[in-house]
């Protein structure tokens, strides 16, 4: 028997803390920043600059994440991945949010968050199983508490609320962070999830990476809200707008939101302003809907260069250290290439496994049909030739 469900809370449907004034829930007008585009530290009310070790970890993981991402994009060109939605340019959000989580927290990523999933510690080859076309989810979600990457938009926001609410009922110190993009904020499930999380005061962090485009549709056609973070106030959810290319700010904001959730403060909505440097996927043509000048403008605000400049200026990082790190990233990319290039055998019988806890008679029969079909084909000299 489990620990008594509900013994840890007075009520699952606790009254929303309506006493909070709207001003306490609203985001700032300008995005919160700790390290500006020139690498200078700037004070930001409500955010604490991460310590040196944390900043170095952010930098290191961003280097590895970027190399991973460019490697994955290259693998699509070689036909080794069916598709890859790149997050290049979003390393601060991908890495900053994940490093701010504790081991007991849950991460709910989308298809664009492969960097984040790998950053959490999962085997990149297992993670790429989806995009390689081997199996839908190639990793064990319980190992690092990472849900399968979600391809329908925003549906995972509700799963995160459910996991977080269950944790609360069971008395577990667990926060769920769900990643979503600007487009997903228009989906009904995001609305329901923010509302459920607020009413239940579930420990959830809604981490919205506003990268400017939902495939081809710009934010101006997505919403008329002053910012996506402004959506929080309507649900009674405190919200923050942060500079999504500032890893220090993202890390500090998410850490604060996780701490708040863990202390019973309920959900937080964070909008991280960033930009998708690559097209939606390798199958997309971004020149049809945006100018190169716009991309160039964002390339000049590169999140990795910014943090590196900051760390170098403070004497925390030097050229040999960067070179060593880049060599490490290169070695990881080479290992990834080698492993992804190795063909793996697929077992057609896998298709019929795990549809139900126990195989149904229909599935047993269908599996036999396929085996017979394959056996007949193998025996057929025509087919063999």
């Amino acid at each position: 028997m489990s620990p008594l469900i509900g013994a840890h809370v007075t009520s699952a449907t606790r009254v929303v803390p309506r006493g909070r004034k709207p001003q306490e829930l609203l985001p700032t007008g300008a995005p919160l920043t700790l390290v500006d585009a020139d690498g200078r530290a700037v004070p930001s009310a409500g955010l604490t600059m991460p310590g040196d070790e944390a900043l170095l970890a952010l930098h290191r993981k961003m280097v590895l994440a970027r190399r991973f991402d460019t490697q994955a994009t290259a693998l699509t060109r070689q036909g080794r991945l069916a598709v890859y939605p790149s997050a290049r340019g979003q390393e601060a959000g991908e890495v900053g949010a994940v490093l701010a989580l504790r081991p007991q927290d849950w991460l709910f990523p989308t298809y664009r968050d492969t960097m984040a999933v790998v950053c959490r510690g999962l085997d990149p080859v297992e993670v790429l199983s989806l995009l390689r076309g081997d199996w839908h989810c190639g990793y064990d979600p319980y190992e690092y508490r990472v849900a399968p990457q979600c391809t329908p938009l925003a549906t995972n926001t509700l799963h995160a609320v459910g996991v977080a609410h269950a944790a609360k009922l069971k008395g577990e110190d667990t926060v769920a962070l769900v990643m979503l993009g600007d487009g997903a904020t228009s989906e009904g499930d995001t609305h329901a999830a923010l509302n459920f999380a607020a009413v239940w005061q579930a420990p959830v962090v809604f981490f919205v990476q506003n990268n400017g485009y939902a495939i081809s549709v710009p934010l101006s056609k997505q919403t008329a809200a002053p910012s996506l973070a402004h959506k929080g106030v309507g649900y009674g959810v405190p919200a923050m707008l942060v500079d999504g290319n500032d890893a220090a700010a993202v890390y500090a904001a998410v850490r604060g939101a996780v701490a708040s959730g863990a202390e019973g403060g309920g959900p937080t909505l964070i909008e991280a302003l960033t930009y998708r440097i690559e097209a939606h996927t390798n199958a997309d043509d971004a020149t049809r809907y945006r100018d190169q000048a716009e991309v160039d403008g964002w390339l000049a605000r590169d999140p990795l260069a910014r943090l590196r400049k900051h760390l170098t200026a403070r004497g925390l990082l030097d050229e040999p250290a960067v070179a060593a790190l880049e060599a490490e990233a290169e070695a990881e990319a080479a290992a990834l290439r080698q492993r992804v290039n190795a063909d793996i055998a697929h077992d057609p019988a896998d298709l019929f496994r795990h549809v139900y806890a126990e195989q149904t008679p229909d599935l047993r029969w269908q599996q036999q049909e396929l085996s017979a079909e394959l056996a007949a084909a193998a025996d057929d000299p025509e087919a063999a030739r």
Partner: protein
Amino acid sequence: MTAIAERSPGPLMTTPEVTMATALNQALADALTEDETVLVFGEDVGPLGGVFRVTDGLAARFGDTRVFDTPLAESGIVGTAIGMAMNGLRPVVEMQFDAFAYPAFEQITSHLAKLRNRTRGRVALPVVIRIPYGGGIGGVEHHCDSSEAYYAHTPGLRVVTPATPGDAYALLRQAIECPDPVIFLEPKRRYWSKQATVLDHAGTTLDRAIVRRPGSDVTLIAYGGTLGTALEAADAAEEEGRSLEVIDLRSLSPFDDETVTASVRRTGRAIVVHEASRFCGYGAEVAARLSEQCFHYLEAPVLRVAGFDIPYPPPHLEEYHLPSVDRILDAVDRLQWQETRPAVKAGG
């Protein structure tokens, strides 16, 4: 129960009558008592006890951390149930009415049904979605849909529908204990039907049909709301000298071929009865399976007595839409009784 049994063993003991709604309520109460991971939530299931009172008294008895009202969003209810199941709980959620469950369709078909398979069995989702379904209660539009085919068409879901109070209890208990997600369809017009029965779920499994009335001439295959109509038709046919066997499917997915084909191979004739529209309806699957598996035993085509291919009609017109005793008897008459071929039941 035990005390009564000890005091009055054997024939002296009278079994009380229960309604289907009471049986379902008892099943939820017993599951909540026996398994602390079970949660019950949905719209109006708390203090009100649900619009059909199936959850009556549960919030007061088990507290509002285990039985609670949610905000009004079906996708939210199922989506959060998925997350709770991922984190070790067993949610039993209520969709208020059949047609109001459609906002949850994506969560059900894309996530609830698939997550076990997507993760190679690593994530199990023992979630039960209770859905009052079907018409015959004078409900206005969007309150009377028979939505079983949508769910039965989705791999990864079990779809169950009881037709009696005893089955309602047993199947709901089994559904809650099942490691697979279960769509539990409750026929609204049977909520107040009564049966003298001891509520027990030992010996019942989730995937078996049951012969409700034995017969030798025709197999009537029904479930949920149409079982009563099928049984009435069998009574009426008996007066006309025809012996109708009535099968209650109970499990729509998976399908119990064994029970159904054994019956049809004996009778040689079959009619499927359901309220849902005929086109691409559940009866089409049953008819196809019978023609695949019992072709050489059939004396006539498998017929369907189903709702018309129309949106569910308004209350004053639903009697024309719902399968009736007469419509079933007409179908029985059309089963080629004059054209019976020489027996071809070789080996059967």
